[in-house]
């Protein structure tokens, strides 16, 4: 089985700062890591390979230093790595990112399943996986928490929903995005780290993947950021104490105020 895992390098911090003038993320001086959700995508890819044979190709679109993330993915069991990098990709929104990744995947050509994380910890849109599926015109299942079956041309997966889960069958090739319930990522191994150090990372640019220049980078990005702001913190709630009847009556009054105004 040919497995493709898409990973994104993200800043290692929960407090991503935003440049108030450009409304973009400030990435300078922050250590980069693999997007946490993508570590589950890598693990699942490697587990499928362990079961069915084949290989795992890990792909990222990003600046040259994203190569570190790819090497880490190799140390975790991925076989091949492709860095898609070009100044022309700068400013890509989710549409352009997923177009660029889909062109990369077209060039890889042989693929049965494409695994993405549920969402990136910085951009947070959860759109890239579905975007890839749309650009390639193949099925997608998001929020996958378990792969029940996977074999040539066919997969059966469990999809997490707010109420419970759905079981979905699909033909391959298929795009899935995974949630953290799906597995427990392994630790890297020393031999994997050695392999990663010596591994060759393929580097493709916009021409290599035959991108239409109008569909990539800032030009290809229909999204315009009007304003980014930190929502005001929620005010603390109120705890009603005292006699049950009184408390219930008071709560009912408060609710009435909220609903009727």
């Amino acid at each position: 089985m040919n497995i493709i895992v898409c990973i994104k390098q993200v800043p290692n911090t929960t407090q991503v700062r935003i440049n108030p003038e450009t409304n973009t993320l400030i990435r300078e001086g922050v250590e980069s890591v693999i997007n946490p959700f993508d570590t589950y995508a890598i693990e699942e890819g490697v587990r499928i390979k362990d079961k069915t044979g084949g290989k795992v190709t890990v792909v990222t679109m990003g600046p040259p230093q994203a190569e570190d993330a790819l090497r880490e993915a190799i140390s975790l069991g991925c076989d091949e790595a492709i860095l898609v990098s070009d100044r022309k990709f700068a400013g890509s929104d989710t549409w352009a990112t997923s177009y660029t990744l889909s062109q990369t995947i077209r060039k890889i050509k042989d693929y049965d399943i494409i695994i993405c994380g549920k969402q990136a910890s910085d951009g947070d849109t959860a759109q890239v996986g579905p975007g890839i599926s749309a650009h390639l015109d193949i099925p997608q299942v998001t929020y996958v928490r378990k792969i029940e079956e996977i074999s040539a041309g066919h997969a059966k997966v469990e999809r997490l929903t707010e109420e419970g889960y759905e079981i979905i069958e699909s033909k391959l090739p298929l795009v899935i995005t995974v949630v953290k319930e799906i597995n427990e990522p392994r630790m890297p191994s020393l031999k994997g780290k050695m392999r990663a150090k010596n591994a060759q990372v393929l580097k493709w640019n916009a021409d290599d993947i035959e991108c239409n220049v109008n569909d990539i980078g800032l030009n290809g990005s229909p999204t315009r950021v009007i304003k980014i702001f930190t929502p005001p913190p929620r005010k603390g709630g109120e705890i009603l104490k005292g006699d049950t009847h009184e408390v219930v009556a008071k709560a009912a009054d408060l609710l009435k105020n909220v609903i009727i105004g």
């Binding site: 392994r186 630790m187 890297p188 020393l190």
Partner: protein
């Protein structure tokens, strides 16, 4: 930290073992200590990460990173938990006799399964009446055709009952004194090999310590390490190579105590200020840091000497074990002091570090015995240089 000019490979080992210690060992250490369970799930992680084979040559499936690789791994894992790390480190102790004295056949048979983490090893020398005085062991191995029949009881064997591969020293000829003992490899499952109850201990409580009991246990002569009569040499040379491992365990425990104490001193307020602003506390922390770094420097020097093939390793090996274990005891005690009453409580991590540190002054030769080894070598050197 001091730059020890580690190689790429050594940095990798350090980084990975620290990650395992931080993410997988530290969070469960208190629970294992409390329950006194053997840390099989962690052993599995070490196996999958290729850590079990760091010191085993590549041709036998290891990383070939030598004693230095072993020391770095042990130090980092012990930073997470000295008891859990011992499953790995004591396997090293049980494996060195095979590494140093095993023939090709024995190496091919045992080293790959140890390197892959499929099997653990143990080293069985001590008996009830023979601790520091290893020469007075009473376990016998009587020749019977192609076999030797082992009888006797080994005491306080780390990994006892959990390990599959045992390096055992037994008397083959009482009349020959120091040349009367022989080292054997005995596999778990051999008829006549049994284990006593698990000991209840002060520290390193995630480690299993048991009696290893031989009752008419038949072991084939192919399982002799080196030759008949070489048992004590095998044991002594094993200790020369393994002591930097115990020392590294001590450094890891001490470093953790220093880290905990520094963080706590910064956060604990008395008299309206952080206790780290008191010179009395600052000087303690400064001394602790200096002591830990000196110990580490000597451990790494010893490990590098051994890896470089130096023959005169007994003295430096004993020195690093002595210095590092005394340092660990002192630094962990000071850490408890800096934590004050909180340090005495099980809810906080430092009392465990103090309990765990103590063993490093006792096993693989007490620190009195290390001093004897060092002094004997000094005298030998003097005689040689005359």
């Amino acid at each position: 930290m001091v730059d020890y000019l580690l190689t790429e490979e050594q940095k990798m080992i350090k980084e990975l073992c620290h990650k395992i210690a931080l993410e997988k060992i530290k969070p469960v250490a208190a629970e294992y200590d409390e329950k006194e369970e053997f840390p099989w799930p962690i052993v599995k992680i070490l196996a999958d990460s290729d850590v079990c084979g760091v010191y085993i040559p590549e041709q036998y499936g290891g990383m070939g990173a030598g004693i230095m690789g072993m020391a770095i791994a042990t130090e980092e894992l012990s930073w997470g938990c000295g008891g859990i790390a011992l499953a790995f480190a004591a396997t090293g102790l049980g494996t060195f006799p095979i590494l140093l004295f095993g023939n090709d056949e024995q190496k091919k048979k045992y080293l790959p399964v140890i390197a892959s983490g499929k099997k653990l090893a143990a080293f069985a020398l001590t008996e009830a009446e023979a601790g520091s005085d290893a020469g007075s062991i009473k376990t016998t191995a009587k020749k019977d055709g192609d076999y030797y029949i082992l009888n006797g009881t080994k005491q306080w064997i780390t990994n006892g009952g959990e390990a599959d591969i045992y390096s055992v020293v037994a008397i083959t000829d009482k009349t020959k004194g120091a040349r009367g003992a022989t080292a054997f490899i005995v596999e778990k499952g051999t008829k006549g090999l049994e284990f006593g109850k698990k000991e209840k201990k002060l520290g390193i409580r995630a480690s299993a310590t048991r009696e290893v009991i031989f009752t008419d246990c038949r072991v084939h002569k192919d399982n002799i390490l080196s030759r008949e009569g070489m048992g004590f040499i095998v044991a002594m040379k094993t200790f020369d190579s393994s002591r930097p491992g115990v020392a590294a365990q001590a450094v890891g425990i001490a470093q953790r105590a220093l880290d905990e104490a520094t963080a706590y001193a910064h956060q604990r307020k008395q008299f309206g200020q952080a206790i780290s602003s008191f010179q009395g506390i600052q000087f303690m922390l400064a001394d602790m840091a200096t002591q830990v770094e000196s110990a580490r420097a000597l451990v790494y020097s010893a490990a590098r000497m051994i890896d470089a093939g130096s023959k005169d390793i007994a003295k430096v090996s004993a020195m690093c074990k002595l210095l590092a274990s005394d340092t660990a005891m002192k630094v962990t005690t000071d850490a408890v002091q800096i934590f004050g009453g909180y340090g005495y409580m099980r809810e906080y991590p430092v009392e465990k570090l103090m309990r765990d540190a103590k063993i490093t002054q006792i096993y693989e030769g007490t620190n009195q015995i290390q001093r004897s080894v060092i002094a004997m070598n000094l005298i030998k050197e003097l005689a040689k240089n005359k």
